[in-house]
């Protein structure tokens, strides 16, 4: 089993006088297995690669700027989940105060 996670820069996309370079977090994993026996041989393998963009670097004559890329959907869902965790606590506090 082999796995790795690293942040790399991709090839830039030129737009006018600017070059936009993606910064990507690459996660990959490969598994391989083999069997050799009197009844035969077998092998299997598999893996996955995940490419998650974390930022875009803009390079131009004026310099270099970095724009972070955030997954707003996940952040919103995490916020809703935290509210869901707080609601029962709040309810119990209200009942305790009322008693």
């Amino acid at each position: 089993m082999m796995g790795a996670c690293e942040v790399v820069e991709g090839e830039g996309v030129r737009v006018g006088e600017r070059e936009l370079v993606p910064v990507v977090r690459v996660t990959r994993r490969v598994e391989r297995r083999a069997y050799v026996g009197a009844d035969g041989v077998a092998g299997q393998g598999g893996g996955f690669v995940r490419l998650h963009p974390v930022a875009v670097v803009e390079r131009s004559a004026t310099g270099e700027r970095r724009f972070a890329i955030r997954d707003r959907t996940v952040h919103t869902l995490i916020g809703l989940f935290l509210v869901a965790l707080l609601v029962p606590l709040l309810a119990m506090v209200i009942v305790w105060i009322a008693e």
Binding site: F48, H52, T73, L80, P88, V95
Partner: protein, 137 residues
């Protein structure tokens, strides 16, 4: 059998060529003086298995083959998924990154949260009313 295995290996090789860092950027689209580049989170997966079994002499005799029977087989699968995260907008004024929100997931989660809140509001009211002393003489 060899043709099928080669086809499987060719498909995996093609998948491997597409697995590069630049896959997160889509094709830039330019219109009305502005260029838009879609940015996505990309994932690939692949599995492959092969086996070769040697049959017994008795099986070969029953099949009237006269030699050991060899069985071979193979299987494979793969997939790719791209989820849009943001768009990069380039204009004369500058560059901006606009996030993309999956509204379907957010609305579904908000609906579940509303049900959850309604349950706990009902529970709170029930507890408070149950704790009040009875007004009967």
């Amino acid at each position: 059998m060899e043709d099928k295995v080669q086809g499987l290996l060719d498909a995996l090789a093609e998948l491997r060529e597409k697995v590069n860092v630049n896959a997160v950027f889509g094709e830039p689209v330019t219109a009305a003086g502005r260029t838009v580049i879609p940015v996505a989170r990309v994932g690939y997966r692949f599995e492959m298995g092969m086996w070769q079994a040697a049959g017994s002499g008795e099986q070969a005799a029953e099949a009237d083959v006269g030699a050991d029977v060899e069985e071979t087989g193979g299987d494979g699968s793969g997939g790719m998924r791209a989820v849009p995260l943001a768009i990069v907008e380039v204009t004369e004024e500058g560059t901006r990154v606009k996030p993309i929100v999956d509204e379907q997931k957010v609305i579904l989660a908000a609906g579940l949260l509303a049900s959850w809140i309604a349950f706990w509001v009902a529970w709170t009211i029930t507890k408070i009313l149950a704790g009040r002393p009875s007004r009967r003489p």
